[in-house]
Amino acid sequence: MSAPSPTTPPVVGKPAPPGLAARLALRHRAGGVIVPLLTALIAFLIGGVVVAATGHNPLLAYRDIFNGAGLNWIFHPTTSTVDAAPYNLTQTLLQTTTLILTGLAVAFAFRCGMFNIGGQGQYFVGLYIANWVGHDLAGMETFPHVVLAITAATLGGAVWAGIAGFLKAAVGAHEVISTIMLNWIAIWVGTYLFGDGGLLQNTANPALPISNNVADSAKLPVFWGDKDLQGLHIGFFIALAALVIFWILLNRTTLGYEVRAVGFNPDAAAYGGISVKKNLVRAMAISGAFAGLAGGIDMLGYLYRYGVSDIPVSSVGFLGIAVALLGRNTAVGTLFGALLFGGLLFGTTHGLQSNVIDPQLAGNLTYMIQGLIVLFVGADVIILTIWNSRRKLRRRAGSA
């Protein structure tokens, strides 16, 4: 084969300074930032077309979503949550906190070559366990109670996802199928737990299909806003720390080396002496730990209790898929993906005027954009091609 290779040195016309390998690496990196940006842009454009089709101005709609998400806070920064903008921002960041963690749950498995669709179920398991530990062990000191509840929730998520990893390693069951099934099991377990006669059902009022509130000693401290009005709790910093841990695990530990090797090429990993099966189970468990942690800090941070009717409404686990895909399964990308979807999730669901956007459409716009992004990320080859042909056109114009 005589594909152009870096060992063939003759250079055309003017020197091509950095060399082919370096330029390829650069394009690879550039593609890493540009593709997700283009993906999001196109998704928003199409979303805008839909808004326009309902007879509204998409620019105004997006402006109001932007403001509704509290992102206009950066123009008038203040910490007082009496104003709308800072309050909205705390709510957006609450969503972002959850999405960072459910995004990492997808991203970590992805780096080991697996598609964890089960973030939602792992999130629920973390949520249930945090509620149980948070309520039933009332009377503990605050700090140990919080730590215990969060650790238990994290382990719960890890075990739940670990089942899928184990099934894959042991009998080759595909993780997409098994995690979806585990989602359903988690959903129905929750419906039982909080429902009539369930183990975690409200003890004060057994007529309600709702759990007890977690004890005050298990609640996460709120650092911005009012504790009784869903203020922003320190779980936000836990999520940021999780981003750092994710990066360190992958790039600075032998565990991460194994995960990446198995993810890129399991045959080569096995040849290198790495146990592929062990890594499948372990990566899945770590993945689930992130989602379980998300459930835990949501419960202890602002939900405090959960009801049967809340279960089918929650979709943070699935949004995590879009977050991770948009963020190209990296730590920094996941942060931005989570911010984007956190803002959309809150910005489209409250305070929008019906003369700016159809209220029915508003709530669903997030999910439309989510769907478009998942679709486009799968088609990033197309987007790269568009990007490259643009460059080619420019080069042709330059040489003419």
Binding site: S2, A3, P6, A16, A25, T253, T254, G256, Y257, F264
Partner: protein, 508 residues
Amino acid sequence: MADAPVLELQGITKAFPGIVANDRVDFDVRAGEVHALLGENGAGKSTLMNILYGLYKADEGEIRLKGKPVSFVSARDAIEVGIGMVHQHFMLIPVMTVAENIVLGNEPTRDTIFLDERGAEARVAELSTQYGLAVDPGALVREITVGQQQRVEILKALYRGAEILILDEPTAVLTPQEATELFAIIQSLKADGKSIIFISHKLGEVLEIADRITVLRRGKKIETVPREGATDASLARAMVGREVLLRVDKSLAVPGDVLLRVDSLRVRDDRGIEKVRGLSFEVRAGEIVGIAGVDGNGQTELIDAITGLRRIEAGTVSVAGEAIDHATARSMLDIGVGHIPEDRQRRGLVLEFSIAENIALHDYAAAPSAKWGWLFPSRLIERGATLIEEFDVRGGGPTTRAGGLSGGNQQKVVVAREIARDPKVLIAAQPTRGLDVGAIEYLHRRLVDERARGRAILLISLELEEIMSLSDRILVVYEGEIVGEHGPDVTEEEIGLEMLGGSRKAVA
């Protein structure tokens, strides 16, 4: 044989960003001629043929067919004027029959809409008897051998009326027998007045089949010579641009202690079929033992068993006198087995990893690469840089993706990693597959050097020539058993016969 060329390429220039793949290349082919296009990987052979086949557009230059200038926008244009190409990687649909694949895109029909299957099969059968291309038109493509699939590709081109046939490295995927059969087919096509363009980087086969030989180097045409008078040394010099040592220069082996002993080994393949059936042999320090055999006679399973990548059914493998039970890849690495795998892209390298990370593939968890699970990327890079220098890896630094390197340099990365671990036993499986003359020369020299350092080297190769020139002892395997053992002075015919199972009874 008409002397006027049917096809001429003149002054073809094609530049890709950063390199000129073809620089004012002239090439022509006559009717009833086999014209070989010879060059190292990356010399511009495939680019030139892709231009001829309408897949690329030349920046400059002209293509003339029977004296008239033509220009192709797509492969369809080239096919229409009678140019056919058989790519290295076949473009067949596995679930369809041979006949269906051949007529695809130009199907004979009944009542204008129904596929005339019988007509298609009859036409295919006719073509295949005409040129001696034996293949069953009704068989599914996924059920026939690679050699037969190649025939299907050739038939496909002939069915579309190809007068000029481009074969892109056709022997790369074939066993020696299949290659011999291919050459017979080429001869019959030639006798029928077809023109064949034969792309290759193997000197031996070019000298065997070609009438004329054009050598490309770094995108430029070096020379076009008739086969008469050309030698492998002269062609190698033209290809590489310097004198190349084609014969391996080595002294007599001084074997020491037994470092690898395989005793009554039995191994099954993935489908549960016993592929290694009671093999026993040993390799001593300072000797190269070559295993010759036709592909699929248990070589892959043998290598996998010795390296801990496949379960042993019965028998033992011992390294330096230590028998290993329940071997894993890890335990075999730790006990001192180095392994150059037969498929460097599937198994030998993580192509998305950097060179430095690939070099650490066995030792990423040990000091100095890591401590208590903490990885030190800077140390990986440092070590990578040292080995890149020592093993003359070109095309990038320690942080370059391995997938961005040429085949020869990828193999150098693998060899660097395996040798730098200072193994007692080195398994070299197809170490030069797909490499060009320069890289082969380097690897052969390296293996002989490592022998001199007292390693026990087990060489498994499908290239008989490679086995013959490197090995101190040659074992011939057939259907998972050793059917012959020879010193280095055995003839190729003798081994060839045993490889086909000819003397099995005599040994048993």
